[in-house]
């Protein structure tokens, strides 16, 4: 990863809403980030924080009642927001691809795995013959350690285990050597030993193909293991951006700090009550006027500034943070 190179993906002020009976849900609230070639960027957040909506917005896959209402997504310098489905179809799977949480939802249950792989391989290059594409598909299955690939090519998705399906999905997402892979909770539906397999595969393929990746997860351990940089998402905003080591050593946003403390760690024998975060994430249709984390914040709850003003993005050393009292938070982390 080269910090000076041009970003391969540049997201600026991206904003997505969902029109529901309960009001307008502001799922993604003017977020910005750059992804450099080869970078592994983690977006960590809870369900409802807007992290999946971010991925779908980037790919132009938001459907009514949802809508991207503002901002820009530049992929290799070209704008994706506002493009037609046909234009985006030529980009998706070729320059940028998506790995879903549940591979079953991305696979067609009535087509054999082989047929689907052949279609994926030929979608962006019609000069490849069916026979050659089939040969590539066998290689691809062998590459992701599907046993007896020639035979299993003609099987259907339900005949594959969950881990096998996700390995195939990852391989097919990377088959056309995209510059960017968006992986949305790629291992959440899997067991922990299968998760380790899948992450190892993702790691290898991303390195081999030189792709940059946005890994979306609620699992802090996966970010620590996999990512160079991390964005913490809360209530539709990216509240902290830092190098992974920087963030895990001392988070500057009180939400990031509280989240790290609330999770039992497998490498420590912890006893006594866990430092839980009180309350629940806010309703995105009725956001408070001040900081959206204020009601749960160990540092800012009840403070006039936090109640009144929504904090905006600011630089703090090498990182970015949206908190009025990030310096206080950091001081606590360092002395803790």
């Amino acid at each position: 990863m080269n910090a000076n190179s041009q970003p391969v993906l540049s997201v600026k002020d991206l904003e997505t809403v969902f029109h529901t009976g309960a009001g307008t849900v502001r799922a993604v609230r003017r977020i910005s980030f750059d992804l450099r070639p080869g970078e592994r960027l983690g977006i960590v957040g809870e369900s409802g924080s807007g992290k999946s909506a971010t991925a779908l917005s980037i790919l132009g896959l938001i459907e009514p009642p949802g809508e991207v209402v503002g901002g820009s997504v530049l992929l290799n310098g070209r704008e994706l927001v506002g493009r037609s489905d046909r234009e985006l179809g030529a980009v998706r799977g070729k320059e940028i691809s998506l790995v879903y949480q549940d591979p079953m939802s991305a696979l067609d249950p009535v087509k054999s795995i082989g047929k689907q792989l052949v279609e994926t391989i030929r979608r962006h290059d019609r000069s490849i013959s069916r026979k050659a594409a089939r040969k590539q598909a066998v290689e691809l299955l062998r590459d992701v350690e599907v046993p007896q690939p020639e035979r299993r090519l003609d099987e259907f998705p339900h005949q594959y285990s969950g881990g096998m399906r996700q390995r195939v999905m990852i391989a097919s997402a990377l088959a056309n050597r995209p510059d960017v892979v968006l992986a949305d909770e790629p291992t959440t539906a899997l067991d922990v030993t299968t998760q380790a397999q899948v992450l190892e595969l993702l790691n290898r393929l991303v390195s081999e193909r030189g792709a940059a990746i946005v890994l979306i997860t609620h699992n802090l351990g996966i970010v620590a293991e996999f990512c160079d940089t991390v964005r913490v998402m809360y209530a539709g905003r990216l509240v902290e951006a830092a190098a992974t080591r920087t963030l895990f050593r001392a988070p500057a946003h009180p939400y990031a700090g509280a989240l790290l403390r609330a999770v039992p760690r497998p490498d420590r024998l912890e006893r006594g009550p866990l430092p839980a975060i009180p309350g629940a994430p806010p309703n995105l249709a009725e956001l408070p006027s001040g900081c959206s984390f204020e009601p749960r914040c160990p540092l800012g709850a009840g403070r006039p500034k936090c109640l009144q003003d929504a904090p905006t993005d600011r630089a703090l050393g090498a990182r970015h943070v949206e908190c009025h009292f990030a310096e206080e938070q950091l001081k606590q982390e360092v002395t803790a």
């Binding site: 285990s161 609620h218 989240l259 497998p266």
Partner: protein, 334 residues
């Protein structure tokens, strides 16, 4: 074989011995043995963890103990009572003392009923007086304020719904509570709240827990002793500290090494055992060790293919079903 853990001072509250549950196979094949001769004992006031991956039989095990599913073989003794010998009426009375909290709070709560009615219902079923007051008190105890008792499940957050599920299980004042993945459907920031609540309630009400969980870090934090289940059988059983600091079974070691640690400084210098292959269902009498096809230690060894290792006490209070206990640890010398 009977694998009795070290005898606690008093009689254990729950003794499970050789418990087996088979399901008939489709298309007349061999039956599927989801739980295969499981034995353990749980002491009064203990939190006993059952960990394993999906399909290992951990949920079937709890249902077979409670006779929500009829076991195929083996015995269950609860407070000295042979649970399998009870008729329907006696079993219903005993269930007051053995309750279960399910994973999915929304799926297990009737959407048309208020929180209070949901908690009152088991009291009414068991003909217990004063249901309204007891239900209200229990809801307050789990942190649902009185002003919210008439709300329906959809009006609560996921964490609050799980609190209601806990209240419903505890309102009958059980001695033993099965917690079947009680936090895995909850957001990360909510999980700690519910774990803390469960621990407080255990102290206040003198409860014994059997905690069924796939998250090893949570098991380590929450449980006194842990049984690691693989393909329906216990691979290792020991104190939480032993399992997580000094395990003997290669499956335990593989599971632990697969859990990512939320600390890059620790995470990136770790060795990891990545298991190959995928878990396949096991027919009875397959022979050999049930972990051998994925085992980093025994895959090539003859004895592992020929003889199923019995669950044996290798150190005081630490049982493992392995011909080569402790060998996998050399692969992850940290």
């Amino acid at each position: 074989m009977t694998a009795a853990p070290p005898e606690p001072a008093s009689e254990p509250l729950l003794v499970v011995d050789g418990l087996t549950k088979e399901f008939a196979a489709r298309r007349g094949g061999e039956p599927l043995r989801a739980v295969d001769g499981v034995s353990f004992a749980v002491a009064h006031g203990e939190t006993f963890g059952v960990v394993g991956e999906s399909g290992c039989g951990k949920s079937t095990l709890s249902r077979a103990i409670l006779r929500l599913l009829e076991p195929t073989a083996g015995s269950v003794a609860f407070d000295g009572v042979d649970v399998r010998a009870l008729d329907a009426a006696a079993l219903r009375r005993l269930r007051r003392r053995m309750q279960i909290v399910f994973q999915d709070p929304l799926g297990s709560l009737d959407p048309r009923m208020s929180a209070r009615a949901i908690v009152e219902e088991p009291l009414e079923i068991h003909g217990i007086d004063d249901a309204r007051r007891r239900a209200a008190e229990m809801l307050e105890l789990v942190g649902i304020p009185a002003a919210q008792h008439r709300r329906k499940p959809y009006a609560f957050s996921g964490g609050q719904r799980q609190r209601i599920g806990v209240a419903r299980a505890l309102v009958l004042e059980p001695d033993l509570v099965f917690l079947d993945e009680p936090i895995s459907a909850l957001d990360v920031s909510i999980q700690a709240q519910v774990l803390n609540l469960l621990r407080d309630l255990q102290r206040q009400l003198g409860l014994t827990y059997v905690f069924i969980v796939h998250d090893l870090a949570v098991a380590e934090y929450f449980c006194d002793r842990v049984a690691v289940l693989y393909r329906g059988a216990i691979m290792e059983l020991a104190s939480s500290e032993r399992i997580f600091r000094d395990s003997l079974h290669p499956y335990t070691a593989s599971l632990l090494s697969a859990v990512p640690v939320p600390d890059p400084d620790v995470e990136r210098r770790r060795d990891r055992i990545v298991l190959r292959g995928d878990v396949q269902p096991l027919a009875p009498n397959a022979g050999g060790c049930r972990f051998r096809d994925r085992c980093p230690v025994g895959r090539e060894r003859a004895i592992c293919a020929e003889k199923e290792p019995p669950l044996t006490e290798h150190r005081p209070g630490q049982l493992a079903a392995c011909h080569f206990p402790g060998e996998a640890q050399k692969l992850v010398a940290a």
